[in-house]
Symmetry: C3
Subunit: 408 residues, 3 copies
């Protein structure tokens, strides 16, 4: 990105009309896409997975986004660590398999060897002046919150400590550290990642676009949501759940990128969880003493989303692959001792967010097609889309800091 392109991008931000959608270049410009990766994805906390994926020392998995690949590994001390999957010599990927168990990281190109903590332990022919300490793997920050692993490639990540401290008692009853992943799916959409994420942020489209979701979840209609909320809160107290929210009325987190959102809202009467029938899908999570008929929307930072029912958790990410290629990645979790067949039926468990994602794939694609038009002019956001405006605030804050590294 040249100086000129950067000035243009910043001018687009400065002239953006509050309460309106973003203009076309944010979804069509290769330069802005590169800025997104550098300044949003490489500066933000990203939900990479769950501690149950790497129980043993040396267990690792890769988390990839855009052109990036991160190794998430359990080191010799039992701690979760993360490193860029880049050899410090000439840049080869170190790990090729998406997951596994290793003693060290041996580069498949020239055989430089790094230990699980990222230190360079072996190399050949680098001369006497070579200082291995200068060639540790590029570190990636890790935060483990109640079993959920978040990574951040920034040198100086936004501080999640205070927001997560506030979140902890609200999520604690769900026992997220005692979950296991039972399914994951990736829905590729030919759109910019921001359109996919914006779609997730608002339920203005739920009634017209998601009939299955709208049948069971009151969020599609704020008035009905309000009507059923007092009853939900009674049931929450009965089930052992606090009724607080985070991020609804107060100013957002101290730093852009560390915003946390937590709100539990009612399902329609007859629905105990996000199932087709309304019946339970799996054993109650954590310390819950009963089905409260609620669903939690949890957001941690601008990129990570979770839906928490009384008996399962669904995690959502919108991972950029290219300017107009995005993977909607979904993971389904139940309590770690639940057994498929006996305690839950997998098809039933994944049904709702599978069919909802098929809808989303279609509507997001048609959104991108229209936004690609040179005649597109962003329209006004409705009262049910204020979360999108909030996302833009954070996004602009992050993107304004883009260093604008030359891409030629």
């Amino acid at each position: 990105m040249t100086e000129h392109s950067m000035e243009n991008m910043r001018s687009l931000i400065d002239t953006h009309q509050l309460g309106f959608a973003l203009p076309r270049p944010f979804y069509t410009s290769p330069d802005i896409y590169d800025a997104d990766l550098r300044s949003v994805w490489n500066q933000s906390w990203i939900w990479a997975g769950h501690v149950s994926q790497i129980p043993e020392k040396g267990d690792y998995f890769l988390f990839d986004y855009g052109p990036e690949s991160v190794i998430v590994v359990r080191d010799g001390s039992g701690a979760v660590r993360a490193h860029m999957n880049i050899c410090r010599h000439r840049g080869s990927r170190l790990c090729i398999e998406p997951s596994g168990n290793v003693r060290n990281f041996v580069c498949p190109y020239h055989a430089w060897v790094f230990d699980l903590g990222g230190a360079l332990r072996s190399n050949r022919a680098m001369g006497d002046d070579f200082d291995p300490a200068r060639y540790r793997l590029f570190p990636v920050h890790v935060t483990v919150f109640q079993g959920l692993i978040f990574i951040c490639a920034a040198e100086d990540p936004p501080s999640l400590a205070a927001p997560l401290n506030r979140l902890a008692p609200l999520s604690a009853p769900f026992g997220m550290e005692n979950l296991k992943r039972v399914h994951r799916a990736s829905y590729p959409v030919p759109t910019n990642w921001k359109l996919a994420l914006e779609n997730y942020l608002e339920c203005y489209h739920c009634a017209p676009s998601h009939k299955d979701y709208a049948k069971s979840h009151t969020l599609k209609d704020p008035e009905q949501c309000d009507i059923f909320t007092p009853d939900l809160q009674d049931r929450m107290r009965a089930a052992g759940l606090p009724t607080e929210t985070i991020g609804m009325t107060e100013p957002s987190a101290p730093e852009p990128g560390a915003e946390v959102y937590w709100r539990r809202y009612p399902l329609f009467p007859g629905y105990q969880t996000g199932s087709n029938s309304g019946d339970p899908l799996a054993p109650l999570l954590g310390n819950l003493t009963g089905y409260d008929g609620g669903a939690t929307d949890l957001g941690i930072g601008p990129l990570n989303f979770f839906l928490i029912y009384a008996d399962h958790l669904v995690g959502y990410r919108f991972v950029p692959r290219a300017l107009q290629e995005t993977d909607i990645q979904i993971e389904w979790y139940v309590r770690s001792d639940a057994q498929e067949g006996r305690d839950f039926n997998l098809d039933d468990l994944i049904w709702l967010w599978h069919v909802t994602s098929l809808d989303d794939e279609r509507i997001i694609r048609h959104n991108q097609e229209g936004v690609n038009s040179h005649r597109f002019v962003p329209g006004p956001l409705s009262a049910m889309e204020t979360s999108i405006a909030g996302f833009y605030d954070t996004y602009f804050d992050l993107i304004r800091n883009d260093p604008g590294v030359f891409r030629g």
Copy 2:
């Protein structure tokens, strides 16, 4: 496109050598391709179809080019209207199916409803200050000329009124309002749209590249064309056709983009129409009283081309899909009461311009391959390629006005 790129583009135009082909960047630059869409395609009249496609109120079809999609619809008053296929809320496509019949346009994303005339009739949760009148569908201008539908996405389209008034008596005998489309085909070519269009504009390549066309059409050899023209004009008068031309010797239309070209030229003796055998292909068009053995080249604006024989009409468009992806779109029309099997044989009807397009696909592709070379230098146009120079004049006039919207 940054200021720098725009200056470079304008400098290429200013230094272009009259009578020569265009330099490489006009066929290889993403920025110039975007300028083409904004400043040529979105500012010019485009032939979209024929009134017979939408006989009833609410009938619509989509016409797509580059990243654009236009809804062409018959409204409640029976008039043909056109709108950008973009919801004014967050930009989703409104119509997904390529044609159909609707009462209103309901956005598949958030269910905003627009009437056939483009007015916003229904929406939810937009607040008290929201003024629906500000969110009509983006209008697209429509001109219907003797049944042919032309659209223009410009705010202020070039005025076709005077040129079409002049054209009307020449084309009237062919009864174009009483045609029906009996076939259409799309020939994708991996080239910039301008190379496909330039190929159509000159018959210098006809003799070496199109042996079927060259066997029957004298245009491939200007001398022979002149020799056979007096006899053609006698036959034209006999068949009830005026012998005037438009755009041959006079200065072109008052505005760039509103040029009209009309010339009827002789087929070789023995050919009554553009058939393999020389025999008629379908019932005589309009008021014609006999086969005159002629073929009309009709051009309306820089982008729309028609071949009119005594018994059928062939329409041509060169629709950009990407920088080096173009669809050569051809439609075949006969009089509306002609019946396949009884009055015409479809394979015979489409034969000539099908085989000619297969030739064109090949030669245009090889042209693009050579133009892609960094060593390519545009050569001089022959006396048989002056129409290309005329196209460049119009093209430069349009592209000079490009606003250079930032593409990042």
Copy 3:
């Protein structure tokens, strides 16, 4: 490429740290890729093939790279000539088939005719002022060295005369003018061409990545290479081979792009040639009187590489197709009178460099994946990678001269 992009590119060169790999944009920037084609590939000598491919007058073959296509032809005088495969009229490819025999070059578009020497011999309708002498085919320089054909599209190519004079007596005993090509293969890799070429330039990766090569070739270990060199030189003298090297310790060639490298190094004991068993693969080349158990690394200019064993020659090129698409092209040669089945077994002959290329495809791909990261920082080159530093010197010299032709 705008002025701004060019300044950025030159700044990347000026700030490059000696002895380190290149930064990301050299492998990811479309502008730098275009500069590579214009300033490196179109300014350098490229090994196109062997005289045995075009024995007769009018025999030609095409050599393509990036967007370029070159016709290599034997003209009426028996000399090897080369021309850009671009018609001087509107730029069509002239020759479409990859090889053949022609009397003239007839453009498939408008039938301009050029003779084997590139002169325009026939055209129509160009007017009285048209001077055919101004429209010869764009010439491409040719150097034939001991049967190997090199082409250069530059106006003023780097002079190979002196370096080749020096090389001639070293390579003469191998009789390269009396070879025939018995196999060729192309290994597409999804990487920038420079990563593929850099991989060829260093044997630091041979031990970890190429176990078959490393078993037989001492180059993978400089110490062992030194140990076995005196014995090799004794055998070379016995077989009639000079033991000199070129380009090892002296300053490189007078002009960037005309560097020549020649070094014969020992195979491990038991290996007479680059075979799996160590046994001979084909009849001895040229004047050789015995197997010396050596392998020559020959480099001519920055882009062309050859491995010469006592009984066969392998030629290597890394041909750019797109920014991150490269063909590793390999050709295998034996002496011209050798007969497959009787004198050599093809599978055995090609085994080593086939399996080695499969390894290379994998490691180069993983290298590009890492380099694509926005977090990639080039690391230090080892003592076994100094040839890469030498390549960067030549590359920078060439790229600094890039005219920066506007690409929009």
